[in-house]
Symmetry: C2
Subunit: 483 residues, 2 copies
Amino acid sequence: MAPKKVLAPDTINGNIKKMVYAVRGELYIRASELQKQGKKIIFTNVGNPHALGQKPLTFSRQVIALCQAPFLMDDPNADIFFPADAIARAKQYLSYTSGGLGAYSDSRGLPGIRKDVADFLMRRDGYPSDPELIFLTDGASKGVAQLLNLLIRDEKDGVLCPIPQYPLYSATIQLVGGTLVPYYLSEEAGWGLDVQDLKRQVVEARMKGITVRGLVFINPGNPTGQCLSEANLRELIQFCHEEHIVMLADEVYQLNIYQDERPFVSAKKVMMDMGPPYSREVELVSFHTVSKGFWGECGQRGAYLELTNIHPKTVDELYKVASIALSPNVPGQIFVGLMVNPPKPGEISYPRYSEESKAILESLRRRARIMTDGFNSCRNITCNFTEGAMYSFPKIKLPQAAIAAAKQTGKAPDVFYCLKLLEATGISTVPGSGFGQKEGTFHLRTTILPSEDQMPEVMRLFKNFNDNFMSQYEGPSGALSKL
Amino acid sequence: MAPKKVLAPDTINGNIKKMVYAVRGELYIRASELQKQGKKIIFTNVGNPHALGQKPLTFSRQVIALCQAPFLMDDPNADIFFPADAIARAKQYLSYTSGGLGAYSDSRGLPGIRKDVADFLMRRDGYPSDPELIFLTDGASKGVAQLLNLLIRDEKDGVLCPIPQYPLYSATIQLVGGTLVPYYLSEEAGWGLDVQDLKRQVVEARMKGITVRGLVFINPGNPTGQCLSEANLRELIQFCHEEHIVMLADEVYQLNIYQDERPFVSAKKVMMDMGPPYSREVELVSFHTVSKGFWGECGQRGAYLELTNIHPKTVDELYKVASIALSPNVPGQIFVGLMVNPPKPGEISYPRYSEESKAILESLRRRARIMTDGFNSCRNITCNFTEGAMYSFPKIKLPQAAIAAAKQTGKAPDVFYCLKLLEATGISTVPGSGFGQKEGTFHLRTTILPSEDQMPEVMRLFKNFNDNFMSQYEGPSGALSKL
């Protein structure tokens, strides 16, 4: 008999074993199997716009192609393919590097791009931003992981996370051995953030011996799609100041806004507007990325974080952590540069850039509406409007018979529902339990990313499945479950 | 007075605080400052070929440019810029993706590229390789970090690392809270690996209550530049089998070989050649990257790891860890594909590819020689020949007066020497203490990457500085220090 493995599943790092990451969990794995078997799968489990047909912005791809292959610019025919402003931009970015995209950059990213990010933040918020406090990262997930690793010392350190939450947070907190302290978003109040609940959770955590050191909030919300009001952000900042808590502002969906009542406002701007002591004392880390917005350049893994009111020596420690991986990928850094400094009115590429990005955002706005309306037309489903981000998070009132059937198969009821949906329609979603939900309620998360012409068919397939599912488990005119 | 920070330097994660990463440590930071002040710096602290003038391979950049900007291929003039095989290759890679380079891939990387890697490994080693056991990562550092995180449960888990070692290992083991168990390479035996010493270290570690679970070896060596013989690898594999230890094979320099006596041979091939029980039982993880070799595409962050004899459920756990960061950057994956499947004889781009890559490798071979000879011509310096990898690791016999002077400034003697070297010449190296060295010996690591025409001047500057330094601290004809 072969000896037992050193890396046997029961002898690996226990934090990894306990970790759960539903976005690429059971549903995703089953969907991938079905795809291999030839079934057409609509992957709405992850915000991956290009995988569902969204086209990249032409200007950005022209510039990155030139940065990767600078010899194209030396050719006298370069202007057949490339507008002059793309060539100028590529030259600018190459001048930021020492040796082009094949050379490691500084571990925090290219100084030139960090300066461009700081200028963008100054324009966006009206307050100065310091390039030395901006770190470029391989996707925002990487930055979040580094920050949580810095913040969490052991299982007695707690981080407040919204429920429902994007499971990057729960998984990473588990991975680095901390404790997630949940606070509940209010579905009835459009997934609003209730500071009273936050306070209760902190008191409760402290009674258990947990030191609450961080608070994650996601604005616009993932998976919940709400946009926080300025008033709500002010309360949050006051709360973190009073309670001595570092704020982690996941603002990766700041360009994805589908209503006009509550435009995006950054936590940094609100905090600066509030003045001292908040503007000088609240420790804030904000995240943004090229994976979302109308860029949707997920595969490039470009992102940044900005540090505000963080101790300078702690900034050095973060630099040290970043330096072990040598440097974030340089092409992704170029995309960050492009995102924070797109073509401007008057430039050659502006009309095309403007047209392409507007078309994407307007279509997303229409799709948010089609999807929410679609869900609300389904039996036993209610759904808040997707105000921002890329997701819809409908509540599904499951009949008791369905819950019992799920139990028989050993699955959580929402997992059972989502698996049935997948097998019947090819629509790959993520069960609400992967994000957290109030006990006894069931949800699923789907992106609003299927292409606009595909969307009516997706919603028809969904409704068909759902209404049949409900008929099967409570009869054609059965009473709703009590939830 | 402002309240104490939550993220104060003394209240962050203690493992991060304790971590040291010299490659981008004090010397690098000082060099960056001097550069800002306008001093010309020769960065030889990190193996970053393009930063020192190495040109990228044309074919790879043509292909990646087309993958980033597929619309270039639609143009009837595409063949002005791009050879037909680059276009074909770009189409092949795009067919591996679902939505181009802007879409997340599977968290292990694109299945098509993983298949290409497996085919390459089959050709290289003569043994089958399973794409499901190949993970693409954002640089090899990322894969190493994931593996160590999986392996290490607490400070009682030990990992054997060579001394001198590449500090990625010491830093990551510290970061995830394990214990580094050192084994010493023998400078006198050309930095060979002494299995007797390994055994002693394991016994000693066990006496301290450490469970030795992993062994890192770097072949060709970093910072030491040696190539391991097949016999040496066989001993190592037997040792790991006997002692029940997972092997981490850092083989990122497998293309960088500057002598003909010991061509690179992979740990996997040796293990498979040995047959059972080794071939079926020794748990092995091997790493390779596009950052090194003649590619030198560091900034692209492309790499892979291959798992051999790892428990299938543990493979799933690694998949879960990878999935939190969603996917490695996709352009970097394309570079991995190009590295494992470069143009072949008979293809349009082969002559150019062959010429470019040969020129780089042959020049590196000459530079290895120039550098080693240069060091050996310096007063109080001896240096083993750089058989492979990208580094030279000369031993510097420091005069007692220099050691005393270093002490007065509060610096380690080798740090003192390297700082003086930097200030005098602009040559930025890494002190041997950053890698570990036998007590009382002093070294520095420099890459062999300054361009060939720059190299004589770099060595002249170095010799000049060194010989003056020695004169200053031991007089023009002073006796050598006793070491």
